[in-house]
């Protein structure tokens, strides 16, 4: 079984590849949190594409694939791209997005040009250089691991020691400058760290998709927490998972580029986060909406029982669905569900297709009716709205007024007797 062979990590080559992939993806995920929070995702993309000409130039000049030399070349052109984007943005009328577009395509174009020239140049050493395009985790050799690993560890240490300062310049640059932090130097360091993270990551992920490793883990992690430290740890973990997976794919199918696979995995993780994260996730929000809808239906039914009770001067008459629908049109299925729920909750009691208030139900129905009428009165008095304009508004507001707000409204309106339509405002009897 290939699976067990891989995950037992007995083969030292597999160990190198796995450790290398994890380190690379973790580094970019951690550093990417700052890129994400500073809203510099596109710059990350520009840098990633711009390291390619640097890698190629280093190879052309030295004729060998020494990882340290390639790293230096990549760092220089990557850094140059950021400098150019900033220069164009400040010195010309072009906006940042255009500047990024220009720099990215020019650098990447030159990179591809050089790469093609190298491939046709007949240098036997060049095989494998093209794996920098889309990444090839399986090609990580021990000496790569040492050099890229060293850089990665320096990055993580840098983030650890300057965590406080990097956070502050990401959140409030002006304040950081005002308290005398060397903001320019810190920004330069953070930029350098970002470039280095990109450079170390390209062997596993490749230049084309590297920006995804910078941004996606951070964006996904942001959904799970409000704490930056935890966000970084979550992002790092997500990065590690995608890194291991990338290494595994590379092991199964050595001719397959790993970058796209790593990015697929991290994207899946991100999609799951967007969908299922508590509070911010799509499903959590949907659940909340359904809950609100149920609350509105239930409170409207109780209000309806109360209004009918007022009319008949008997709040505890049992009523059928037809008699309820005579007074207020509702979707029948919603009404049925609501009646069943309210019976379960003890606000109504049911006998043979007829429902009637319990004592608790009456109190609740009365409160909704009261809030509705109070709000109508508030709108006519304080917003000078005409009495025939206030009903629809009160229909929604009656469901969200808290007891504290109710007390405040009562105080301002001085415990009024009737609403703008001369209906009596019902108060609790004590």
């Amino acid at each position: 079984m290939k699976f067990f062979e891989f995950f037992s990590f007995t083969d030292p080559n597999i160990r190198y590849v796995v450790v290398g992939s994890i380190l690379m993806t973790v580094c970019s995920a951690v550093v990417g949190c700052f890129t994400f929070l500073r809203k510099r995702a596109l710059i990350g993309d520009a840098v990633a594409h711009s390291v390619l000409p640097g890698v190629c130039l280093s190879f052309l000049l030295t004729g060998e694939k020494n990882p340290f030399i390639l790293l230096i070349g990549a760092f220089i052109t990557g850094g140059l791209s950021i400098f150019l984007v900033e220069y164009i943005t400040t010195k010309t009328k072009l906006k940042e997005d255009s500047a990024i577009g220009i720099v990215l395509s020019v650098f990447f174009g030159i990179g591809i040009l050089l790469l093609t020239a190298i491939q046709h140049g007949g240098n036997a050493n060049q095989s494998g250089l093209d794996s920098f395009l889309f990444g090839k985790a399986a090609s990580i050799l021990p000496e790569d691991l040492y050099s890229f690993g060293l850089v990665g560890i320096i990055l993580l240490i840098g983030v650890f020691f300057f965590f406080k300062e990097f956070t502050l310049i990401s959140f409030d640059r002006n304040f950081a400058e005002a308290i005398g932090l060397p903001v320019k130097i810190l920004e330069f360091m953070l930029t350098s760290i970002t470039v280095l993270a990109v450079v170390t990551g390209i062997q596993a992920v490749g230049v084309v998709l590297m920006a995804a490793m910078l941004i996606t883990p951070a964006a996904a992690a942001r959904y799970w927490t409000h704490n930056l430290t935890i966000m970084m740890l979550v992002a790092a973990m997500m990065g590690a998972v995608s890194g291991i997976f990338g290494a595994y794919i590379s092991y199964l199918a050595p001719s397959m580029p790993t970058g796209p696979w790593i990015v697929m995995v991290i994207s899946m993780i991100a999609i799951v986060s967007f969908a299922f994260a508590p509070v911010k996730g799509v499903f959590a929000r949907l659940r909340k909406q359904i809950k609100n809808q149920k609350q509105i239906t239930d409170e409207n039914i109780l209000k309806l029982f109360f209004q009918l009770g007022e009319k008949d001067q008997d709040f505890f008459t049992a009523r059928s669905i037809t008699s309820l629908l005579e007074r207020r049109s509702m979707r029948k299925d919603l009404l049925k569900n609501g009646l069943a729920r309210l019976t379960d909750q003890g606000f109504l009691s049911k006998t043979k297709d007829h429902w009637k208030f319990t004592e608790a139900g009456k109190v609740k129905g009365q409160r909704v009716a009261r809030l509705h009428r109070l709000w109508e009165l508030y709108l006519t008095q304080y917003l000078q709205l005409a009495p025939d304009h206030v009903h629809d508004d009160a229909e929604t507001i009656e469901h969200i007024i808290t007891p504290e707000l109710e007390a405040k409204i009562l105080e301002q309106l001085k415990y009024p007797e009737v609403d703008p339509h001369d209906t009596k405002i019902p108060y609790k009897d004590f």
Binding site: L37, K39, N174, I179, R222, L228
Partner: protein
């Protein structure tokens, strides 16, 4: 009418500031007495925020200098606090109210080090002073506008400075919060601190501040509130725009001309 004071806590001399070569403040000369609660008042685009940003060294000066406590800003930064506009930051940042207030302690903590227990206690105490003791661990995006403003104020208090520059601390806050904030500012000045506030409501300015700067691209007046709040000076600040001044500014921008010859 610009009243100069002896032994000023802040001295601004011949300050001109330009954005993209377009001057937004022309030749400002002013001095402020220690312990004052000063309001910077003027219409939109008068350069109110620009003035305090220039004082804080956040934007380059075209000419002039600023002295705080008679010294350059870099020598006295520990004694100076700055509260940026609330909208200048992204409140969706993953941080709690306490995290933000702790940022006020960073210059005392120093590089590399983590906040100590003492810093946390100071931060909690500052949150209490602004009435947010129960919100310490609340994510900042879940705070109301007024509460966010108070978090910024607490962060400034945590700096324990001697002079505070605040950019529109009353923008977007409700009446109750505004009253609470002005109460805190008054307490700060009675205990000897100096507070400078960018403000744009004329009505409340009279009651809030004991020193007022009237600004409209240039300093119209600086002095005790009762002397500065005259019909004429207000008219001069808010009435007719100085069209020639504005036109010259536009021209400098368009022609890419330096506003000072030696700063090309």
């Amino acid at each position: 009418m610009i009243i100069q004071v002896p032994n000023p806590i802040l001295e601004v001399h011949d300050l001109t500031v330009a954005y993209h070569r377009k001057p937004v403040l022309w030749g400002v000369d002013l001095t402020l007495p220690a312990g004052s609660l000063t309001g910077i008042i003027g219409p939109n685009g008068a350069g109110k925020s620009t003035l305090i940003k220039a004082i804080m060294g956040l934007i380059p000066l075209s000419s002039g200098f600023v002295k705080l406590f008679g010294k350059d800003l870099d020598e006295v930064r520990q004694k100076v606090s700055y509260v940026p506009q609330r909208e200048s930051v992204d409140w969706d940042f993953p941080a709690s109210a306490l995290d933000v207030v702790l940022m006020g302690r960073y210059s005392q903590i120093g590089l590399f080090k983590r906040p100590r227990k003492a810093d946390k206690e100071v931060a909690v105490e500052c949150l209490r002073k602004v009435g947010l003791q129960n919100f310490a661990n609340r994510q900042i995006s879940q705070l109301s506008g007024g509460q966010q403003q108070r978090v910024f104020l607490a962060r400034a208090l945590a700096q324990d400075a001697d002079i505070y520059f605040m950019d529109e601390p009353f923008a977007g806050v409700d009446a109750a919060t505004e009253a609470a904030i002005i109460e805190i500012l008054r307490n700060m000045t009675t205990s000897g601190k100096t507070v400078v506030v960018v403000h744009h409501d004329l009505q409340s300015a009279v009651t809030y501040f004991n020193w007022v700067l009237l600004l409209n691209m240039r300093l119209v007046a600086s002095g005790p509130t009762e002397k500065v709040f005259t019909q004429d000076l207000l008219q001069e600040t808010y009435g007719g725009k100085l069209t020639v001044l504005a036109k010259v500014g536009d021209l400098l921008e368009k022609q890419q001309f330096p506003s000072r010859e030696d700063k090309a």
